[in-house]
């Protein structure tokens, strides 16, 4: 009898990735919601290096880091592969997954914290990064082709988290006009039943962003931007 537990947070894109993968594979699991400001002894025991969610516990053995967990899940449960079988296609998927994680995520989130000229600069830089993804989607519904794959799962923050907060702040980094393929991909993505059951309600997401560990000054800055955006509507 398999025992699968996931230490995560209902509003975290990182633990959401793991939930999507487990759902795609039809794996039953217990979800243990962690409070980032009060981490459980088990979390600290299972991920002593990073002390972060998500951590997958499979038959008592922990695996940490969402991209590592995703590959593990794909190797253990063979239904609905997340990665292509062909080594070259697999290498491409891993390349784009890393690109999304290491280049896109920071470039996009940076735009939440800048104003005026700096915002224009950050928006342009984010645009340069997104352009490659826009090109990669040509002729495809998802990065994985007809169905969701590794890159789509890793890019979850782009489809939902980023766009939700972008809208609340009145920003225009990733729009239907400037990135039509990415926008269409995002719309298809968040409407997938395998995915949207794991997305937190928008107002809840905005209420808890940014996480306190990012610093009170950022929390305050974000609140003031939200208020300014709401007033501008």
């Amino acid at each position: 009898m398999e025992e699968v537990k996931l230490f995560g947070h209902p509003a975290s894109p990182f633990s959401c990735r793991v939930e999507i993968a487990l759902k795609l594979k039809g794996v039953h699991y217990d979800f243990i919601a962690e409070d980032p400001s009060n981490k459980s002894p088990q979390l600290l025991q299972y991920n002593p290096v990073h002390k972060k969610i998500p951590v997958l516990l499979h038959n008592g053995k922990p695996i940490a880091e969402s991209l590592v967990i995703l590959e593990y899940i794909d190797e253990v449960w063979k239904t609905n592969p997340i990665l292509p079988q062909n080594p070259h296609e697999k290498a491409k998927a891993r390349f784009w997954a890393n690109y999304v994680e290491e280049k896109c995520l920071p470039a996009l989130f940076k735009t939440f914290w800048s104003v005026g000229e700096q915002y224009d600069k950050d928006k342009a830089e984010a645009g340069e990064v997104l352009k490659f993804l826009e090109d990669e989607l040509q002729g495809k519904k998802f990065f994985g082709g007809d169905s969701i794959g590794l890159v789509d799962i890793v890019a979850n923050f782009m489809a939902f988290w980023f766009r939700t907060i972008q809208e609340a702040l009145g920003l225009d980094v990733l729009t239907k006009d400037n990135f039509p393929k990415l926008w269409e991909w995002a719309e298809n993505y968040v409407n997938c039943s395998d995915i949207n059951q794991f997305l937190p309600p928008k107002d809840k997401l905005i209420a808890i962003f940014p996480p306190p560990y990012m610093g009170q000054h950022l929390v305050a800055f974000f609140q003031s931007r939200l208020a300014a955006a709401a007033a501008a509507k």
Partner: protein
């Protein structure tokens, strides 16, 4: 598929390129090494890796594969005749990938920061962080190797390659800053591993010599600084 020609775009002073070289050697893969000048990138590099414009790039037939750890996994998956690089059990594979990610995200960048550090204070702080990381990696080694010579057990594996690629810069820094980073008290197992790794056939003509490396990196830094003025 494994019979198509193989080219590696890179430069000998890069830990990322070294990793690919280890993997190619382990699998006895004939290949052409095309030396790239990072400050004046070739058309071939820009065409093969238009997104990141970085080395290493493996070109197999006419298909490019980018990112060192990606390339190593690709090599392991295509050339199945030679010794396996990744462990066979998914849990061990996950462990290898976890620590390789730790090295690339948290630890290896520190080594370049040491080379770039202008002040003694910042260098000292960085060296302390490097040592802290090595203590974690020592524990990982003891766990993964289970008393054998390599992270991969009896033979070189994925994590050996990931960390082995860093040995050039690590030894270079030890020479540059006159410090010991791998030492008998805090990291005895890794110290032994480094020696065994560097004398292995797959690695011995790849890991750069500290003096030659430091001279090359110093020249690179000077050229890079001149280019931005």
């Amino acid at each position: 598929m494994a019979t198509k020609p193989v080219k590696l775009l890179g430069f000998w002073d890069s830990p990322y390129v070294n990793r690919v070289q280890f993997a190619l050697n382990l699998k006895s893969i004939d290949h052409e090494f095309i030396e790239e000048n990072i400050l004046s990138k070739s058309e071939l590099l820009l065409r093969s890796n238009p997104v990141q414009k970085k080395i290493p790039v493996l070109i197999h037939g006419d298909e490019p594969i980018c990112e060192s750890l990606n390339i190593v996994q690709y090599i392991d998956e295509v050339w199945t005749d030679g010794p396996s690089i990744l462990p066979s059990h998914p849990r061990d594979r996950a462990m290898s990938r976890f620590w390789a990610a730790y090295i690339d995200e948290k630890w290896l960048p520190l080594l370049w920061e040491v080379y770039e550090a202008k002040e003694e204070d910042s260098r000292t702080t960085l060296l302390e962080k490097v040592r802290e990381g090595l203590v974690l990696l020592e524990a990982a080694f003891v766990k993964c190797s289970k008393g054998k010579a390599f992270f991969g057990g009896d033979s070189i594996g994925y994590l050996d390659i990931a960390l082995g690629g860093c040995l050039g810069w690590l030894k270079g820094i030890e020479k540059l800053a006159s410090v010991k980073l791998l030492d008998e008290t805090k990291t005895p197992a890794l110290l032994g591993w480094a020696e065994t790794f560097c004398s292995n056939e797959a690695a011995k003509n790849v890991v750069p010599e500290p003096e030659k490396l430091n001279k090359c990196l110093k020249e690179f830094q000077a050229q890079a600084a001149a280019a931005t003025k």
